[in-house]
């Protein structure tokens, strides 16, 4: 039987201590968290193979800095879900608030609903799939990794983008500084197909457009100062 931690009876420190110890055991155990009631910093800092299912919505920084673990939120997640994730998989069955996947280095963040503003900000290698829409300033200064959006993107997508790849199926309200639409080549379709499959997304790679950096702002040039 899957061990359950009920947060009406167990405090945050005890829950995280239990999960972090289980992850370090490398035993690929499974845990369920009941009644999270919007707790902040829940299931953060997991460092090993572990499956955690959270039965409800979470507050800030759920699954922050995750390594190897699989975390599923059966609800919505507050700001900074899976921030700085290194590897593993984090799934949000509902919506995600601001800064989802911020600065993430690796792994897959799978958001079944919508994501708010600044989704994927400063991402450094993480893959993010959003089944719904994303808010403004998403992928701001995004460095590496892939952001896939099945719905629409808000204003200033990919502002000051570096080398991250952005794939959007719906409309883009506006592109940020130095972000441009790019040719979808076979290797991009291949990456996209794999991510859609991993995320269980009902969409075809051919339906998406790709956006990336125009690389005009990579080295300071006074003639581009008006673009900032």
């Amino acid at each position: 039987m899957t061990p359950m931690l009920d947060m009406t009876k167990t405090d945050l420190r005890s829950v995280n201590t239990t999960l972090q110890a289980a992850a370090r055991r490398q035993a690929n155990e499974a845990y369920e968290i009941l009644n999270p009631r919007g707790a902040h910093a829940l299931a953060c800092g997991l460092d090993g193979p572990l499956s955690v299912t959270i039965k409800g919505s979470t507050g800030y920084y759920c699954a922050g800095m995750n390594k190897d673990a699989t975390v599923t939120v059966e609800g919505s997640a507050g700001p900074g879900v899976a921030e700085n994730m290194m590897s593993g998989m984090v799934t949000i069955e509902g919506d995600a608030s601001q800064y989802a996947g911020a600065t993430g280095h690796g792994g897959l963040l799978n958001i079944k609903g919508n994501a708010s503003s600044r989704c994927g900000i400063s991402m450094k290698g993480i893959d993010i799939v959003v089944h719904g829409n994303i808010g403004h300033m998403s992928a701001f200064m995004a460095q590496k990794g892939n952001l896939v959006v099945l719905g629409d993107a808000g204003e200033a997508l990919g502002d000051s983008l570096y080398e991250a790849r952005l794939f959007v199926r719906g409309s883009v309200k506006s592109l940020g500084a130095d972000c441009t639409e790019k040719e979808m080549r076979p290797e991009h379709l291949e990456i996209l197909a794999k991510l859609l499959e991993q995320a269980g997304a009902d969409a075809k790679p051919e339906e998406f457009k790709r956006y990336g950096s125009a690389r005009k702002l990579y080295n300071f040039n006074i003639d581009h100062a008006s673009e900032y």
Partner: protein
């Protein structure tokens, strides 16, 4: 021959030669001047304060005989494992990328021998500094370059950087010429491009969010590590109060003489407050909250001598931090490289184009040939010596004021030489019992 007396040519104070040269440079290039270091302008500083020493009303302690303690513990508020330092002088955060790996190693070696901590910077933690730093503070910066939970856990403390004295409200830019393969790899960016260091954190805004961010950092590190919050000298009373509210164990307060790797000269010289002006408001905030000495205050920005250390402590700091002075101790701006500084259009003591990566001293560079000039063992020894001298000087003054611990230094040990310094430090103008703003006058 005309004997009519002529008025001697008069240079404008407003349009000085220095100002005019900058106007010409700007007109030629179309871009602002970028440089490293802190504010170079003259401003009220620790030099404008004096210690009174012991007299009829106070007993001094015997030099070379009676003990004057210097140890300080940082992070006593919440952390399970506070940092214990032998001396109240730490090494400030400086990034690998702006500094060479040898320089980072030398800082770690010197700090460890002297019994104090060193600090990472933007760009992440290197093996050189972790391996050679007995106590290492890990900076948690807006860019999160190289940030990972493994390094977070192997740090001895975590410093959330909100701002720095050289550029409160500003981010940074590591220019492409210093982005080697190793630097680029640590930062997850291509080689050769300018790397922007953000001015705001990507996943929190304001002290309410920061409180939750700190909760996350503590949960990830088992509540062991002291959490510092570093602020630039902008609004020290409120910034300190809000840092305490957000859950800081330690507040690091950096005045505008504090250095940076590279930013606009106009930013360095015109934004922020002098270190001297920041300390008393920060201490008052801690006192008003009943947190003075429970949340430790580390002051940086222009600390050069043991007298500066003693004055900062007397005004209420628990420790100080040095950056520029530590680099000079390693060998930065050494006159032995004068010919090379001249070739770069500068001179020893004034060289500040650290962002160009051509530092003759091998400190602010990633050029392998230049880096090799800095022997990390010898440079570490120089830093150790310098830290020891600062400590001895501070002890000398504390003993003269009758204190058996440097933390017992107090504002009543001081007087000011100028009205400005008296107002900022809130200590009497020399020869009076008055300072501007003193209640009752």
């Amino acid at each position: 021959m005309d004997k009519t007396p002529r008025t001697e040519p008069r240079q404008s104070w407003t349009f000085s030669n220095s100002i005019n040269s900058e106007i010409r440079r700007a007109a030629e290039t179309g871009i602002y001047d970028i440089r490293g270091g802190g504010a170079k302008r003259r401003m009220p500083h620790f030099d404008d304060l004096l210690f009174l020493g012991a007299s009829m009303s106070r007993y001094p302690l015997e030099g070379y005989r009676e003990r004057c303690e210097t140890a300080v513990t940082l992070g006593t508020r919440f952390a399970k494992k506070p940092i214990e330092l032998r001396i109240p002088i730490t090494i400030a955060g400086m990034s690998f990328g702006s500094l060479s790996a040898n320089a980072k190693e030398a800082l770690g070696r010197g700090a460890t021998m002297a019994g104090t901590s060193t600090t990472t910077g933007d760009g992440g933690m290197t093996e050189e500094e972790r391996g050679h730093s007995e106590k290492l503070v890990y900076q948690y910066l807006p860019s999160r370059y190289g940030m990972n939970p493994d390094d977070l856990r192997r740090a001895d403390a975590i410093e959330v950087v909100v701002g720095q004295g050289a550029k409160p409200g500003g981010g940074g830019m590591l220019l492409g010429q210093k982005i080697t393969e190793r630097v680029a790899s640590m930062r997850d960016l291509p080689m050769g491009i300018d790397q922007r260091s953000a001015c705001r954190h990507p996943d929190w805004t304001g002290p309410d969010d920061l409180e939750i961010k700190i909760l996350e950092l503590r949960e990830i590190t088992n509540w062991e590590k002291p959490i510092y919050i570093k602020i630039g000298g902008a609004r020290p009373y409120y910034d300190t109060a809000l840092a305490v509210k957000a859950g800081a164990d330690v507040v690091v307060l950096d005045g505008m003489q504090g250095g940076t790797a590279a930013t606009q000269d106009v930013f360095i010289e015109h934004v922020g407050q002098p270190t001297l002006a920041c300390i008393r408001p920060a201490v008052k905030a801690l006192q008003d909250l009943g947190m003075h000495r429970e949340v430790q205050l580390v002051v940086s920005g222009g600390i050069r001598t043991g007298a500066d250390v003693a004055k900062a402590l007397a005004l209420g700091a628990d420790a100080v931090s040095i950056g520029s002075a530590a680099l000079i101790a390693l060998g930065d701006n050494d006159p032995k490289y004068e010919a090379e500084y001249q070739a770069l259009g500068s001179t020893a003591g004034a060289y500040d184009d650290w962002h160009e990566g051509r530092d003759p001293a091998g400190i602010t560079t990633q050029d392998p040939a230049l880096m090799a000039r800095l022997d990390p063992i010898a440079a570490g020894r120089r830093l150790r010596n310098y830290l020891n001298v600062l400590t001895l000087e501070c002890q000398t003054i504390a003993r003269a004021c009758g204190h058996n611990h440097v933390h017992n230094l107090e504002p009543e040990d001081l007087c000011a030489l100028t009205m400005e310094a008296a107002a900022m430090a809130q200590v009497p103008l020399a020869g009076t019992d008055w300072y501007p703003g003193k209640p009752g006058f």
